[in-house]
Symmetry: C2
Subunit: 302 residues, 2 copies
Amino acid sequence: MKLTILGCHSATPRTNTNPTSQVLEIKNNMFLIDCGEGTQVELRRNKIKFSRIKHIFISHLHGDHYFGLVGLVNTFSLLTRETELHIYAPKGLKEVITLQMKLSSSWTNYPLIFHELSSKVSQLIYEDEKVEVHTIPLKHRIYTNGFLFKEKENERKLDINLVNEANIDKAYFRKLKQGFDVENEDGVLIANEKVTKDPLPAKSYAFCSDTVYNEEIIPIIKDCTVLYHESTFLDKNEDLCVPTKHSTARQAATIAKKANVETLILGHYSTRYNGYEEFKNEAQTVFEHTVLAKDGKVFNFD
Amino acid sequence: MKLTILGCHSATPRTNTNPTSQVLEIKNNMFLIDCGEGTQVELRRNKIKFSRIKHIFISHLHGDHYFGLVGLVNTFSLLTRETELHIYAPKGLKEVITLQMKLSSSWTNYPLIFHELSSKVSQLIYEDEKVEVHTIPLKHRIYTNGFLFKEKENERKLDINLVNEANIDKAYFRKLKQGFDVENEDGVLIANEKVTKDPLPAKSYAFCSDTVYNEEIIPIIKDCTVLYHESTFLDKNEDLCVPTKHSTARQAATIAKKANVETLILGHYSTRYNGYEEFKNEAQTVFEHTVLAKDGKVFNFD
């Protein structure tokens, strides 16, 4: 599981900072999460192949989270993409994109599939053999979802020497990987744990931006491997959290602690601050394993 | 008259090149012309004060000419702008911007005034004491206008020594600047040219992007000081001009020559080429005074 931060700043793109966008690589998927203005350039800069992006998740329709999307959709067309593209976003985005396509008298030459979101409870919105994606309803000024990306339980690993010694036919390997006991060639029942090893633990990534402090998300993100939680403000500006519906670094850390996550990544910093170490310092008074997002930073969680 | 090229490449923003956008400073106006994705960052990079931009001209609704606009309009709001903003653009843009505002539950805190264009003949769309702006109907795949920015005739310059010697009262200075002969304090008629000098010639700038080769624009841009004309292709790809409705550098130069302009600026280069000197070379076989646009380049025409 690998996370590339394309942008992690709030409000507006600036000369040296980008609005929210990130790429999560998980079980051979490249998921693009949010798409602020300039995302396509950051994808190029970070050498992420456009063709590998098949699913884009948009948290909400504030510009710093999606103004780069129509350009990306358009660029995919100019590059003669053929692979289908799925966009998971709040209701309304489809209208924005289709209106702009209509005005330019063009349409994509690849299938563009919108999955419009409007539910206020957590939903399973994507599933393949190895991964599930669920929404995390957040509390912000407009309808907003975070996203929980979960690896499915990995299969048990065969110890091929022990399997051969136990004289088990190949036909049973699949059942062994699934955790079943099987009969060997001599009709003897072989206990699964004698010939297999525990699988790698399934990993999960929760993306929560933008939101006011909200304990209701804790059951959804409980025990996840990595939590990205917005920290727009430092303690000294905590009074701004309620009117703007954002969080402080300390509040993000409190959620991380209560949800028992392994690692907390902070981001969505307000442009009022110079430098971000103070976000980490304030968060670490509550939750030690806190790291800072930074544009262009790659987190490897394998 | 000063022109800053923020971006002059076609199709998509890339790591080192920007789509179309430029700022024309003329008689104390800062006119933003087209607004591809990333324009607000380029404005910052070129240290152009956001508050000085009061009029934005959008040629057409292909993404590489306007996808940066909604972000700029939004950023102006975040920066608590109060000055009114006028946008001159093809019909449809207002719907795009207002839809996106509606979806983000916000509106600008400054007056945002759309001037929607749909006429197929040249129109006067802006006028103040010193400048006029006219549309230049272009032929492209969708409805497109270029823009002609014209200084009004400057006033004649008083030679204050000669004026005093001629014993003319201050009350007549205005009439002298306007070119009239006036009576002096002794009742003698003073010929205007005896006490005034010719004004600086009025300058003009014609922006023509995107368009197929089209001689119909020549009467509109005739004798203008500077012509920016798109040159998407080199001669070797001239066959692409008709289907895509773009021009070669040589065609741009032919228009410049026939319109008797002083300077031709080339831009809107296709991303298929490496380096742009060949555009200049091909154009200069037809029109000597050709220069190349380049992102970040400033042309001073005073």
